[in-house]
Symmetry: C2
Subunit: 325 residues, 2 copies
């Protein structure tokens, strides 16, 4: 694939930046205890009554519309588990991320926070959500994000063991940890309903998604095969049940260090490979960019945050352009 993406722009002219929430449904709570609390600096205690009407299941979307888009279809950027849309905005050490790159490349770009995360808000448990969330430690992330081997994390940054040739900027790992948010298990249905509402609102689009979000993108491409024109699935974590449908084109992108990483990865990759095989059998175009096989070495789970992400971005743009997206 040739490299056709322009470099990050000196400036980008926008005709709009705004946000909206899609999806969500109402629930009413009764019988909860009322308290008296001061809620602001110096404020007298006031009655705080949690009984009443709530909304849950909604999703936050921030939309960047270009003054002069050069591509007809907007790009939707979907993050992975325990994250928010913020990882598309910046590299872990600062500086612009793929949001800026897609804008520079002429795409209207919409960044969402999955239901329950970031600006999408979350709801009371066990009253509205069934159970408590899960919180990711730095220890687990070091292994699951394939920064280093199982047991390679240490509180002292100087004592941490990263994989040789690691492209993730490990010196900014603690900064990156500030982005992580709690997540719930078992909320796939609610998350997918909101992503579906987004695609219905947006219309024809390209989805570029990471990890858990890439699994959601595959599911939404099944549900809206005419709306979703292409899926770039970066390191999908989780996949819908296998498909017999002809699907829009997918590009699966995989980083490095699968052989030496946390065992969960062989499972996740196996799921995606099985899905790809079934989709191909149904006549779908499913391309795979295995970075080490393509001569690009050292990528973590967060390919788009790694030092060499530019080389990967060029290939993504080339793949989209070849499809006419």
């Amino acid at each position: 694939m040739p490299c056709t993406a322009p470099p990050a722009a000196e400036s980008v002219a926008l005709r709009s930046v705004h946000s909206f929430h899609v999806g969500g449904h109402c629930r009413t709570l009764k019988g909860l205890p009322v308290s008296e609390r001061s809620m602001v600096q110096g404020g007298a205690p006031r009655r705080v009554d949690p009984n009443g009407d709530y909304v849950l299941g909604q999703m936050y979307v921030q939309a960047f519309r270009l003054a002069r888009p050069r591509v007809a279809l907007p790009v939707l950027l979907w993050h992975g588990g325990g994250m928010t849309g913020s990882h598309w905005e910046s590299s872990p050490c600062g500086g612009e991320g793929w949001l800026w790159r897609f804008l520079s490349a002429g795409y209207d770009t919409l960044v969402s926070d999955a239901v329950e995360r970031g600006r999408s808000s979350w709801a009371m448990y066990p009253q509205l959500y069934a159970e408590a969330p899960f919180f990711r430690t730095k220890n687990e992330a070091w292994e699951m994000f394939r920064i280093g081997p199982v047991g390679g994390y240490a509180s002292d940054p100087g004592q941490r063991i990263a994989f040789d040739g690691q492209q993730f900027p490990v010196e900014c790992f603690d900064n990156f940890a500030k982005q992580w948010v709690p997540r719930w298990a078992g909320h796939d249905g609610m998350a997918l309903d909101a992503y579906g509402a987004l695609v219905e609102r947006t219309g024809p689009c390209v989805i570029v998604a990471h990890s858990q979000g890439a699994g959601y993108a595959a599911a939404i491409a099944q549900r809206y095969p005419d709306m979703v024109r292409a899926v770039v699935a970066i390191e999908p974590g989780g996949m819908p049940t296998r498909t017999r449908q002809r699907l829009p084109p997918h590009l699966f992108i995989w980083g490095d260090f699968f052989d030496t990483s946390h065992l969960a990865w062989s499972g996740y990759r196996g799921l995606a490979d099985g899905y790809a095989a079934a989709a191909r059998f149904a006549g779908s175009r499913i391309d795979v960019l295995d970075l080490p096989r393509a001569g690009i070495h050292g990528n973590s789970h967060f390919v788009m945050l790694d030092r060499n992400n530019d080389a990967v971005f060029h290939r993504v743009i080339a793949w989209l352009h070849a499809l006419g997206c």
Copy 2:
């Protein structure tokens, strides 16, 4: 004050959109139970161990830098209690918000989510935060945001009672509710540390803040009187203890319906009035824009989201320009 703000721009040229987190400190948890759960679509159960290192107290900031700013100082937009920065981005019925207006007026603009809210993430309780959060019902918001009288909310939108002449777009109230996030009581110190870290990073700036955020802005202006060049405090909810310092100029903005609203408002307004009197006594310039007295009627607590917010925005810009900001 003359009206000097330009209309919302047809397009805005940016040289950067990116985000970062400021502040935060590390804590380690031990002795918590480990579980086995599937965390993604179709994924096999895996070990999820919550023991290890966390960061808490960090704050998310999204920075919009103009290609050609027309004003030297950036504007920091700080939201209120139970909200995120998203309310600066859009009106409740859609369309751009004050973020776009400040960009159109030539200001570099930074929008943050307070600690514990939105993309700033939140931490496990009672292990890291001391207690559970508070959730705002639509019922309470209807009263506390001065949309309508106490008891004026009903689940059926057609049965709700709003104040006569209400400028808040009540038909979009349910949409607005999708933005609200849980909040904790007693986190003022943590929130202020992160806002302080933001001002230290930004340098000289203007703060435009709402409700609880406006009380935080007043506290940060005390702490960094040379960095904070002006504070626009829209309907401050809560205030720091009174000051004997000479402070940078403040503009307090108040909406309508104080006489007929939830009683908490007379308390909040009294706090702000007392603070303003003490600051003036210490030689500070403290201006007050009481909208009904200025002939602008019908504003809710969310002045910048009301239908007539344009008239208020013009006055804010005129006040800043008169200060040379």
